[in-house]
């Protein structure tokens, strides 16, 4: 029973992190209808940024995060204006391949610059724990959860109440109508893409002291994010957050209660995708599909 409580805490903390990792992807799809298959690579870049900040200049990842977010935003904006914008009018498969190609390039730039060796950032709070009765809470995870919460709350507030945020939602709902309302879609697209990469980089900074950092860490993260976004409903930030917690809890429970469960946890994400697509394709809170 104690283990169950521990698992639940563990899963919730993980869920917060998953949410931050996926929210960017969801935003990108909601507004532009493209899935950025290089999203995992931005998480990777954020993780490396935080790692090098800690190792070379002894800057704590949390302190480095605002700078990394700004850099991530700029990088996303430039990437969008420079490369991705051209493919927006092309058929979907070109967009998919384009972002795949960008992912490949980013991975191997990382290999060339930093080699394939595994790294891990270890600020003090990465392993310290607080004990409450028989339960323990890892500080690193708790901090990750709190920061993710703050960022997601900020995002949702911005989307709901600010002018640009509402413009973004307008474009997501109905692009042509938004244009008629005087909103410049190109700028909005760039903004949403840049925001999604900034969020990816932020989650990378957090993840840097929680998991291993390699140039190839992006792809599994992308797969989880895709599963979460489908689960929650493409284009809905709230749905993504819920989906993240659902996935985290499902994975943790399977890992514990199913024999050899830890090996099957990867499959949980995909089983969920298939189940959702069969039962309720729009996901928990998504917009209905156009067929």
């Amino acid at each position: 029973m104690i283990n169950f409580a521990q698992l639940l805490i563990d899963a919730l903390l993980m869920g917060g992190l998953y949410a931050l990792m996926s929210v960017g992807l969801s935003l990108g799809f909601g507004v532009m209808r493209i899935i950025n298959f290089a999203h995992g690579e931005f998480v990777m870049l954020g993780a490396y940024g935080a790692f090098w900040g800690l190792t070379l200049w002894h800057i704590d990842p949390l302190i480095a995060m605002p700078l990394l977010i700004v850099l991530g935003f700029l990088a996303g904006w430039l990437l969008f204006r420079g490369v991705i914008e051209w493919a927006l009018k092309a058929p979907q498969l070109n967009q998919i391949l384009l972002t795949f190609g960008i992912a490949l390039v980013l991975q191997h730039i990382a290999v060339v610059l930093w080699t394939g060796d595994v790294r891990s950032a270890s600020p003090g709070y990465a392993v310290s724990t607080t004990i409450i009765g028989d339960l323990f809470i890892v500080h690193g995870r708790l901090i990750g959860f709190l920061v993710a919460g703050v960022l997601i709350a900020a995002l949702m507030t911005w989307l709901r109440y600010s002018e640009t945020g509402r413009a973004l939602r307008a474009v997501a709902q109905n692009r042509d109508a938004a244009i008629l309302m005087g909103i410049d879609p190109g700028r909005i697209y760039a903004l949403s893409f840049a925001t999604s990469t900034a969020l990816g980089v932020a989650s990378g900074a957090i993840v840097s002291f929680l998991i291993n950092i390699t140039p190839f860490m992006g792809f599994p993260i992308l797969l989880k994010a895709v599963a979460i976004v489908i689960l929650g409903g493409l284009g809905s930030v709230a749905g993504t957050v819920i989906g993240a917690f659902v996935l985290a809890i499902a994975e943790t429970m399977v890992a514990y209660y199913v024999p050899d469960g830890a090996g099957w946890t990867e499959g949980v994400a995909f089983a969920l995708i298939v189940a959702i697509l069969l039962i309720r394709p729009r996901g928990i809170a998504g917009q209905s599909l156009a067929t």
Partner: protein, 319 residues
């Protein structure tokens, strides 16, 4: 027949003859390249067939890996010889294609793509977690007693490639092609015209699936070793897309030209940059990006001097 198509047919026949002849010449480097081109060609044709129906597959490695495992397991566990082991592989591929088509039902575009990704990753997890059957992470070696000789395998790949090309040609000449193109452009409208999407979807995915698993099975015999990471490698999926896009997607010669170009380019980057750490795949990625941006109609499209009319698969703003 138009002049262009006569030239294309002659080129196709010549290429087929060359592909069959190379393994018999005893030049190992060329034979290896020939093999890889033919294997990639099959997967590219298969992907292109599905794309032609509007079904973008991000999980073609599922078919490849399935074919590889079925072939090796048939050989190891049931002592099935080379040629015979290809048939259960193709059958498995057709079944997987049908299953995917039925499960994804009416889904289009990105949802279908993600389902295929889920299928390939799901199969990989299965292969890893059932070590008693698949050898798990340790992998499987092909029982070397059954090895039919390098020439036999070297000939099988071009035969498979020619078969794939002929199937694609036959489909493009039939009424099937019009139905598929209609489905690609607007499935709803095509349904109103009397095209039953499920039937065509299942059909095309069975055919495409069988071709791709055939490629995987032949490659398994060639390589002799298989593990889940190898069989369901992401690179297979990426190559399956690069080749048709590079060559000219939705066209008949596109995947063929693309397969040759992709392997040629891979060899070039490996020859030029192979000694340096991490560079060869970096260059490959850059080329992919450049091709998608600057040459979306592929090599074949440029050769024809046409820009194929793009129509988005689903109207963007309609919700």
């Amino acid at each position: 027949m138009t002049r262009g198509s006569v030239a294309a047919t002659c080129a196709g026949i010549a290429a087929g003859i060359v592909a069959l002849a190379i393994p018999l010449l005893g030049m190992p480097l060329l034979a290896d390249i020939d093999f890889r081109i033919c294997a990639l060609l099959m997967v590219a044709v298969s992907w292109n067939l599905m794309a032609g129906a509007g079904l973008v597959s991000l999980g073609h490695s599922a078919f490849w890996g399935l074919g590889a495992y079925v072939a090796i397991l048939a050989a190891n566990d049931f002592a099935v010889p080379f040629a015979a082991s290809l048939l259960p592989a193709m059958l498995a591929g057709a079944l997987l294609g049908a299953a995917l088509a039925l499960i994804t039902g009416r889904m289009r575009g990105i949802y279908f793509a993600i389902s295929t990704l889920a299928a390939s990753e799901g199969l990989r997890v299965l292969a890893t977690m059932l070590p008693d059957i698949t050898g798990g992470g340790n992998g499987l070696y092909l029982d070397s007693k059954l090895f039919p000789g390098k020439t036999a395998i070297g000939l099988a790949a071009p035969c498979g490639a020619i078969l794939a090309a002929l199937i694609a040609w036959a489909i493009s000449r039939s009424r099937y092609a019009f139905a598929l193109r209609a489905m690609r452009n607007n499935e709803l409208a095509s349904q109103m015209l009397g095209v039953a999407p499920i039937r065509f979807r299942v059909g095309i995915m069975m055919i495409a699936g069988a071709i791709a698993t055939l490629a995987g099975a032949i490659n398994a015999w060639h390589g002799g070793y298989l593990d889940p990471g190898v069989g369901f490698d992401l690179k297979t999926t990426i190559d399956a897309q690069i080749a048709p896009i590079l060559g000219g997607v939705y066209t008949l010669p596109g995947p063929i030209i693309g397969a040759i170009a992709t392997i040629g380019f891979e060899e070039l980057t490996r020859a030029l940059f192979g000694g340096m750490v991490g560079i060869s795949l970096l260059v490959f990625g850059i080329v992919l990006v450049v091709v998608v941006l600057c040459m979306p109609q592929g090599i074949f499209g440029l050769l024809r001097g046409l820009r194929l009319p793009w129509r988005p698969a689903t109207p963007r703003a309609a919700r």
